[in-house]
Every structure is written in C-alpha cells, then in structure tokens.
C-alpha cells in the first residue's frame, strides 16, 4: 500500500475544509480543542483546526488531503504537514482582499519548505464581489508558470478541476526533470 499526500493551505476561513470535504470519501477529520501542552496551559485556551480527507485510488494507492490550520499561531504545524507532500494548493478567499497579504506569506512559507509544484485556487468565485483569478495573480505576485485557478470549494467539479490542474503541473515538472 502506498499513500500520497497533497496539502491544502491558505489563510483562515479561505475554504480549505470545504475544499477537502467536497472530494473526500470519508468525513473530514477536523479538530477543535483547548491547548493543553505545558507551555500553553498557563495561557488562555485556544483552538486548533486541521483537516484531512482521503481518496482511494485503487487497492494499493491512497491519496490523503491535509488541510493546514489557517491561524498564524499554528504555523509550527505547517512544516510538519508539508513533509513528503506531492504538491500543495493555496486557497485564497477571492472576496476578502484583507487576507491576500496573508495568503502570499503562506505561499512563500510553503515554497520554502519544499520545492514541490503548487497551484493557487481563487475560491468563492460564485460570489459577485470575488476578485478575478487574473487579478489575484497580479496581487499575489504569482509567477507565470504557476496556475491560478478559479474555484468554488463547495462544488465538487470545481475542486476536481483544481486537483487535476495541480496533478498536471506535477507531470510537467516531472517532464522537465527528465529532460
């Protein structure tokens, strides 16, 4: 049995959980809890949120989708989750420009963790105020060879398209490496 991992990251409330939920064959496991480590016990209680979903490819291959906690204070988990990932998706709430800077920071952080292919999902494109994917590319300073794909995380077809585009990017990178 082999397992592969794709990480779904992005700012808080950008739609990561919905994205995973749309295609996962299991209920998305997520957690909200009071922090209880020794160092944190003396501080105020807080919440962790993280998700994972699964897609069985065949009897010998499973794809896991890991959603990262969006809150900055849990960024220590990001590197752990990024270990061994095939690629990652950066979710951006296209209707909340106030989160764009944070999205860019997360993108830069993940890029530094691992040189794997990634894709930007411009989420909530079904909402009238959503910024177009092309504008997001400019705002987030995304390089031309990285795809920025319009997305509606609630819509399975849309999520499938994002995942497929990421996988195509992975194939392209493999081609370049082989050349």
């Amino acid at each position: 049995m082999q397992t592969l991992k794709i990480v779904v990251t992005g700012p808080f409330a950008s739609g990561k959980t919905e994205f995973i939920q749309s295609v996962s064959e299991i209920d998305v496991v997520s957690t909200e809890r009071k922090i209880s480590s020794r160092a944190e016990r003396i501080k105020d209680a807080t919440t962790v949120a993280m998700d994972f979903g699964r897609i069985t490819i065949d009897e010998e291959l499973i794809l896991y989708l890991f959603g990262t906690p969006g809150q900055r204070r849990f960024d220590f988990m990001w590197e752990i989750l990024s270990e061994g990932m095939l690629g990652f998706v950066v979710m951006v709430d296209s209707t909340r420009p106030e989160t764009f800077r944070e999205a860019q920071r997360i993108l830069d952080t993940f890029r530094a963790y691992s040189p794997v292919p990634y894709i930007v999902a411009a989420n909530k494109q079904d909402i009238p105020d959503a910024w177009p994917a092309d504008d997001l590319r400019i705002v987030l300073k995304i390089e031309p060879d990285v795809k920025v794909v319009p997305c509606v995380a609630r819509d399975r077809e849309s999520v499938k398209q994002v995942l497929l585009e990421l996988l195509y990017s992975i194939l392209e990178v493999m081609d370049q490496t082989e050349e």
Partner: protein, 286 residues
Amino acid sequence: MALKGNLKDFGITQLLNLINLARKTGTLYLEGAQSKAYLCFREGALVYAAADGQELALLPLLQKAGKLTAEQARVIATNMGSKPDRDVALMLIQSGHVQQQELVQLVRQHITDTAYSVFSWNAGTFRFEPNELPIQGKLVSSIALENVIMEGSRRLKEWERLQEEIPSLDVALKFAEKPNTPLRDVNLTVEEWRVISFVNPRNAIRQIAQYNNMSEFQIRKIVYGLLQAGLVEIIRPPRQMAEATVGEPRSVRPEEKERPEAMMGARRPDVKRSLIHKLIDRIREL
C-alpha cells in the same frame, strides 16, 4: 555501607519506599540491561536524577522548552564559559530571560521524568551510596518521593499495558479502512496530529517518534489511543512493506541516516509518473 542488590529481587518501588521511609541521604546507582542511571536523595526527597550519561543541563533544557533559541543558547554558552549551571541560571533569572518559577518547574519535570523512566527496569543491579551527593553546581530541586512513587507505579502499569498492545515500535501504521468512530466526532490533540501527519506504511512507529522527538512511552500512548479510536491499524514492518509497495521506496543514504527526516521519505517523494496518471484518472471519475 552501600546497599547493593539485584533489581529482580528488590524492585525500584521498594527501593524508593525504603529511601523515603528511612529519610536517607545519598545516591542510588542503577545499572539496567542497556542503560545506567543515578538518583540523588536528601533526607528522603529526590533532588536530582540523570540517565544514560544525560546530565540535567540548563541551556538544552531551556532550549527544548522554547525559552531560548539555539542562537541565544550558543551565545550564553560562549559567554559563560565553564560556569556551573546554577550560576548561569541565576544570571538568566536576574536578567529576566527566564522566570524562577518556570525554571524550577522545568527542572522538577526533568528530574521526575528521569525517575519515572527507571520504574520499568526489572533487571539489573543497584547500589545505594549513603551521604554521597554528586550534585555540586548542578540544578537540583526537592521533590517528595511519595508522589513520585505513586505516579511512577501508575505509569509502570500503563507502560506494561502499552507494551502488551504495541510490543514493537518497528511496525508501521496505516489509516483504518473503516474507522470505528464517527470521524466527525474525533478530537485530536496537537501531539496526536503530529503523529497522524506521518502515518504511512513506509514509516515505522519508531521513526515517527524520532521525528517528533517523542519518547517510547509518549509514542506508545498516542498510538494506543489512535488504535483504540479505530483511526489507525498496525501493519507489517516498513521493510517488508517496501518490498510490496507500488512505487520505488526511497532508500536512506548512509549520510542521511543521522537525519530522521531523511528516513521519513520526506521533502520530495519519489513518485512515478504512472502514479500521477492513476490519480488523474481517479479524480476525473469522482
């Protein structure tokens, strides 16, 4: 005169009870099958403990607790030269780098954790040297033995049960096909998530523990919890799994053996094009 004996005949709990009741001062030297430890007592209270040559050292302790960065620890070590930990601790408290209460708590935790670790030793020898206290310049604390004995005994029982459930750490884990628990109701701790994120047939439990800096007790406890919740299942050892795996398992180069992350097959997974095509076909079908 030193008290000497065999741990098979006279166990750790009995020894500590004796030291506590007789309010002894001295050092208990233990030699197990593969490890050595010594515990120091003053008038029946535990004041210091070290195992496997790992003395309680201030700067690594503060670094591990996140009170100092590696760079800060390096600078302090350079500036303080060979000054004893007690003097360095005083300087750090006075300069506000660390609170006295926090430091005391960390030292107590380290000493008790070391003491708890020897509770599971049921073979080896012991020697108690009365009035011998090799603790000059070291960080010490006075810890009532009653609580240590009670907690140690409780952990020992838990340890025995965990060992029965998970006899080997050289097996790997996989996510359960049909979890027992409704997944929506599952609440996981940060530590459990750390383990979950490495659940993969290629990663032995021991490797997951190494990567997350967890003791055998900690990893066993977490894995036991995940097994009980039906979230994961134990599978064959990674080496055997690798032989049966679809893709080529990533081999560990000699120079990488010191780095646990290398053993996790981390960073850039070796994946064949055919696997990506399989993913594409499956996602199209969804």
